[in-house]
Symmetry: C2
Subunit: 213 residues, 2 copies
Amino acid sequence: MKHFDLSLYLVTDRSQSQGRPLEYIVKEAAEGGVSMVQLREKSCTSREFYRQALSLKACLKPYNIPLIINDRLDIALACDAEGLHIGQTDLPCDVARRILGKEKIIGLSVESIQDALDANTLEIDYIGISPVFSTPTKTDTATELGLTGIREISTLSRHPGVGIGGIHPGNARAVIQAGAEGISVVSAIMSAAVPRQAASQLRDIVYQSKKIK
Amino acid sequence: MKHFDLSLYLVTDRSQSQGRPLEYIVKEAAEGGVSMVQLREKSCTSREFYRQALSLKACLKPYNIPLIINDRLDIALACDAEGLHIGQTDLPCDVARRILGKEKIIGLSVESIQDALDANTLEIDYIGISPVFSTPTKTDTATELGLTGIREISTLSRHPGVGIGGIHPGNARAVIQAGAEGISVVSAIMSAAVPRQAASQLRDIVYQSKKIK
């Protein structure tokens, strides 16, 4: 049985950390209450990615927070991360599952109703519903799905879903109320002046919204 | 026991194929006598890399030519390639060996005498001695090692070495005579008007030079 909590899922983006080391932001975010962390790197060498992954794994261990690696199955294996997050242009899910085994967490980004339907046939553990709102973080994603998209996908999906894209304290409650199990954020924590406080505020909103739901 | 022949080792570079599919060049090169092929991709998605790797593996199977994947251990695992080639900024060799197992071929690029000395302590199967001559293919590599470098490294290394960088029919013999087990080429085959002929010519030079050596 895999244990993970999608409530507040931080995805890293070094370019939004305002010069602060990822380790600092991740530790602060852990103190503030993030429940999962995804390391996403798109322009460094494999060696740097590996070292960064090892370092974040060590940061998260005392908190028992799972580290998920974006796209790179080899890095996930190399650092023995708790899981892998794949997009529609990454390795196919069945290939990733075969190599990673049943014990690891695999998440998949879905960008449409059709993606979510297709995901129902796959051995994955959660879906990232993306993008909920338009966002400057990712420029290569599909049209925003909005709260209607979250609602439709949460209803039809057999996997728990986490919303991602443009989520902040002002709209987090609505995303949970629309059916998501959690929210995933980049800039709302990465760029926050006090990442611990930002995480804590978001966590409180998610937990309160889940109670009401 | 791993069987591989470093004599003529093609490294792919889509940008040098002059619009021709990699499958075409690789089949032609196989017909012409290349003994190993390395798939190197630096700017495509993981899904594209995986599909390309599967496709080249199918091309090479009838010739019993090993497919080696550059850098990406996950792609090597996903397509069950015969091996992995890693550079000094890729995953550490010991990590790659642990994940790939003893049966797969692992090659390492060495760019200096010191790299070659360090490689003697590693569980790898061959070294790529790079760059022998200056080349427009890779812009991120160290100073050219020249024939003197090939000679020194071949003498001190416990691994067989393949020279790479600026090798063509005019200097291939000298590289083998300096101690390399083989030559690795990119543009000499990728950009050739008739890749099969280019491969065949290079193979003849290598085999003749080895006889004399």
